[in-house]
């Protein structure tokens, strides 16, 4: 009941804000060149979805984001596990990862374009780097901070490495990965869109770049809203997955 009330209040606030924006535009308080009315943005959005071309852009961004997300998860989780199990590898990997974690990783985008061209590969690479560094730390720190009591429990029951990994490490790691999945989804989209923004011939980032270069504020806002809507949808999906996999919590 309480969460319902909170949601209701939020929706009302949003409607009021949009209504205020719309009336401010109609009354001429806002310059449509900089701040087009919500109705204009909505019209632009409908035109986007009605035109066939938009779907290929949407598809391009989704493919880049998902490919980067999947590859980044595999790479990050794999390296995190390996570093936690083999201290020698951790010695080498940790400084690299700390450095990659400290910098804004999107600065690598121009380099990926030079290396991999303006096609899909450079976008996947950027999303992959963003996601894998996040996952590396989630898994690496997670394994090192695994509950010692559970490890000792398995050992006193006679279990060796195989049972430790299966009964303690993998479930713990799953919890950390799932806890970071939403952030990872966001990162994957950041990577894909920024990659397209830097140099490409397709994708939502490309459209954004186009809208910006033609000073089309309506199209820019419409694209931002579309990207937000899709990311929110994916957040909801990962939340469901999280609840399913972590139902023991």
């Amino acid at each position: 009941m309480k969460t319902f009330l909170i949601a209701a209040r939020r929706i009302v606030a949003l409607i009021l804000l949009v209504a205020f924006w719309e009336s401010a535009s109609r009354l001429g308080w806002l310059d449509p060149f900089y701040m087009p009315a919500p109705s204009t943005v909505a019209r632009v959005m409908m035109q986007l979805f009605a035109g066939g071309e938009f779907w290929t852009h949407l598809q391009a961004t989704f493919i880049a984001a998902f490919a980067g997300l999947a590859a980044g998860l595999v790479l990050g989780v794999g390296l995190g596990f390996a570093a936690a199990l083999f201290p020698m590898l951790a010695e080498l990997l940790e400084p690299v990862m700390v450095l990659l974690n400290a910098i804004p990783r999107v600065i690598l985008a121009p380099l990926f374009v030079i290396w991999l061209g303006i096609g899909l590969a450079s976008k996947v690479a950027l999303a992959l780097v963003l996601v894998s560094v996040l996952m590396f730390f989630a898994v690496y720190n997670g394994i090192r901070e695994v509950d010692r009591r559970l490890v000792e429990r398995i050992r006193t029951l006679g279990g060796g490495r195989r049972f430790l990994v299966r009964e303690v490490y993998v479930p713990s790691v799953t919890a950390w990965v799932m806890g970071n999945l939403k952030v990872a989804v966001g990162f994957a989209f950041t990577g894909a869109v920024v990659g397209e923004f830097v140099a490409s011939s397709r994708g939502l980032g490309y459209l954004l770049q186009f809208a910006q270069s033609t000073y089309n504020a309506g199209l820019t806002i419409a694209l931002i809203v579309v990207i937000m809507a899709f990311v929110l949808l994916l957040f909801a999906l990962s939340e469901r997955l999280e609840r399913r996999l972590l139902r023991w919590r």
């Binding site: 398995i154 006193t156 029951l157 006679g158």
Partner: protein
């Protein structure tokens, strides 16, 4: 069944335990009592090879697989159901899922947890979790049971009930027990032999007492035994 000789444990400083000698005879309930922080737990950890002592020996007459360890905190796997937690040790010993589950369920109902098999530890009360932990150990039919203040976290009523129950199991399964506790009355009411550990660092065995109160024991009746009160007083003096 268990002989500890000259056990010294140190963690890079002055020894926590020094020159501990301790015997646990088959079929006996032995308790090691000592102040908090005296290193009692380290003795059990040395017996189960969770830590390697600086010097001294631990000799077991039974294979390591016949030793059960009941921890202070229940340490159940939070992501496994109650049934899976109880079956865990059986699975580790290579028993197939079917028979392991069956056996786990049988022990769950013996401990009054019928119908709780599909729950997760989070969904249980402290007392219920402790019963699961007991089932997890007893299902393996150990011959030597090590217990590290197993009931410290429970409230007094639940604690008394579970202690009583566990004494029943010890009797029925002819278990040999080594209990570590700082609770005087618990030590005397359940044990045949009580070792008193001095305050650490360099804690060592200060005294050994045979408790002549006849078995089987019941928590409440034992306290009315004429031997009980003088023993409490004696141990209290040795501890302080």
């Amino acid at each position: 069944m268990l002989r500890v000789r000259g056990l010294t444990v140190a963690f890079g400083g002055p020894p926590v335990l020094e020159n501990i000698d301790l015997d646990v005879k088959a079929g006996q309930f032995t308790t090691l009592i000592g102040p908090s922080g005296s290193g009692k737990t380290s003795i059990l950890r040395a017996v189960t090879a969770l830590l390697s002592p600086q010097s001294g020996t631990v000799a077991l007459d039974v294979p390591a697989n016949d030793v059960g360890f009941l921890f202070q905190d229940d340490a159940l796997l939070p992501w496994r159901t109650v049934r899976q937690n109880v079956a865990l040790g059986l699975r580790i010993r290579g028993i197939a899922a079917g028979p392991a589950t069956e056996k786990a369920d049988r022990w769950l109902s013996l401990l009054g947890l019928e119908g709780f098999g599909d729950r997760y530890p989070r969904q249980l009360s402290g007392g219920q979790r402790k019963r699961v932990a007991i089932a997890q150990v007893l299902v393996l039919e150990p011959r030597l049971l090590l217990m590290d203040e197993p009931f410290a976290s429970l409230d007094a009523i639940v604690r008394m009930r579970i202690t009583e129950e566990l004494l029943g199991w010890v009797e029925r399964e002819h278990l040999t027990v080594l209990l570590v506790t700082h609770d005087l009355e618990e030590a005397i009411s359940s044990s045949d032999v009580v070792y008193v550990l001095s305050q650490g660092p360099s804690a060592t065995i200060r005294a050994r007492h045979e408790i002549g109160i006849p078995r089987p024991r019941h928590v409440l009746e034992t306290r009315r035994d004429p031997l009980f009160a003088p023993l409490v007083e004696l141990l209290w003096k040795e501890l302080s």
